[in-house]
Symmetry: none
Subunit: 140 residues, 4 copies
C-alpha cells in the first residue's frame, strides 16, 4: 500500500477564492476548476460572464497539470513543432491541454491536486491560477 | 485464411520486466503497456510514482506503433507542419501518438505486438521501450 | 489536505496472481485488471485464450466497483427495470458495468482500489475476482 | 508467441457474397460487415437501399460476436432483465450489441473472425449472417 496526500474540499475552496479574487481584480470573469491528484474534479466555479467553453478547458487544464506535474504553459513550449512532445495536445482524446492556465498543486514536492483556469488570455488564466496557489500557501 | 504470430502473456511479461529494469536503472518510474498486433492490451504495469496520464499514453503509443509499424518517434518527424503526415496525432480520436516511446515488436519482419512507455521525457520513454524489446530478443 | 491509502504495484501483482491461480483452477482464461481507488489502471493481464472484449470490461468493472464501492453484481440487482438505479449501466458513456466480476478492495473500511475480471460467466468472473482479494488478505 | 488463424480478404468476400445472395432472395437489402478475430473490419458492403444506421450496427454485431464468441441473439437472452449479463448492451460505449445478426466464424473451434448483418428484422439479419457462414463452409 502507498499513502497519498490529496487536496480536500476546504483546500479547493481556498484555491478558488484566491483565483477568483485575482480574476475580479483584473476584471476578467473566469472558470476555475480544482482537481485531485488523480485528475478528478473537487470543485468548480464558473464566474458570471465567463465563457461556457471555459468549463471543460479549466477541468482539462487541471487534469493535464496533475498528470504531467507541469504547468500547462510549459507543455506549450515542449510541444511546439520540432520539439520532443509535439503532438501532445491531441493525446487522450484532446484532454491534454498545452495552453497556459493549468498548474499542479505541490506539497513537499508531491502533486496533491491541480488548478485550471480558463476564459481570459493564456497569460491571464495562468496569473489567476497562480493567485489561487498563493492563497493556499498563505493559508497553510 | 491467414496465420498470424502474436505475443503471448509470457512474452508480454518479458517485455515489461526488461523495460522496468531500465526504468529503475535510470531512476524514472514508468507506465509500460504491451499490446498484441491488433492493438489490444495484453499486459500493463504502472510503476509506483509514474504519471497517471501515462497509463493511456503508454497504451496508445503501443497501439500506434503496432498500427503504423513504426516507432512513434519516427511519426513525430513525418507529422511536423509541412510534412506529409501532418495532423496524424489527432487522428482516431487522438489515439495516434507521435511522441517517442512506442515501438512495434517484430519477428522475422512481421509485427507481433508493440510496447508503449510513458512518464519520462520522450527520449527516456523510447530508451525504456527499447530495453523491453532487447529483453525479449535476449530471451529467445 | 486528506490522506488516502492506495494499492501499489506489488499489491496489484498479488491480486492478479491470486485471481489467475483461480482462473487456472477452474480452467477459464481471464482478463484481470487492477485499478487504484480513483479508477486508474495499475496493472492488467490478459491470459492467453481470454476474450478480447474482456480487456475493457475488466477495466470498467474495476472502475465501477471503486466508484460505487460495491461489487458489480450488487449493482446488477439495483439497476433492474423498476428498481431505483435503473439505467445505471449506460451511465458515464457505458463505463458503469453492472455485471458480476468487479469488486472494491477495502482496507479498514476504505476503498484502496479495485479488481475487475472478465471472460467467463458473471459467476466465474466474480469467483476469480474474490480469489484475488483473498490472496491480498492472506499476504498481509 | 502464439499463432492465430484469421480470415483473409478472400474469405471475407465469400462470407459477404453468401450473405448478399440470401438478402436478395428474401428481398431485404442489408449492411454486411466482416471483421477479423480481434474485431477489426476486413470488408463491408452496404447494399443499395439498406439502412444507414445498419453500417455501424453490422460492424458492432461482428465485433461483439468475435469478442464474446457467441451469436448476438444468444447475448440477447442472457442479458434480459433478471439475467446474469443484464447491462451488457451498454458496455464498451454501446459497442456490445445483443440483437440477432452477429455470428462468430469458427475454424476447428477457434474464432477466426465474425460477420454482422443489419437492416432487416433481427431474425432476417441472423438468417442472412448464417447464409454467409454457410457459403464459407461450402467453399472450404
Amino acid at each position: 500500500m502507498m499513502t497519498i496526500v490529496r487536496l480536500d474540499l476546504v483546500d479547493a475552496r481556498v484555491l478558488i477564492a484566491g483565483a477568483r479574487a485575482k480574476a475580479e481584480e483584473i476584471g476578467v470573469p473566469m472558470c476555475i476548476a480544482v482537481t485531485d491528484e488523480s485528475g478528478h474534479l473537487i470543485a468548480l466555479e464558473r464566474m458570471d460572464g465567463s465563457k461556457v467553453t471555459g468549463v471543460a478547458l479549466a477541468m482539462d487544464k487541471s487534469f493535464t497539470a496533475v498528470g504531467t506535474r507541469k504547468g500547462t504553459h510549459d507543455l506549450g513550449e515542449v510541444s511546439q513543432p520540432g520539439k520532443p512532445a509535439y503532438g501532445l495536445s491531441s493525446a487522450l482524446g484532446g484532454r491534454m491541454v498545452v495552453i497556459g492556465g493549468g498548474l499542479p498543486v505541490l506539497v513537499e514536492g508531491e502533486v496533491v491536486g491541480g488548478i485550471g483556469v480558463s476564459s481570459g488570455t493564456p497569460t491571464q488564466d495562468r496569473e489567476v491560477a497562480e493567485a489561487g496557489i498563493r492563497a493556499l500557501s498563505d493559508s497553510a
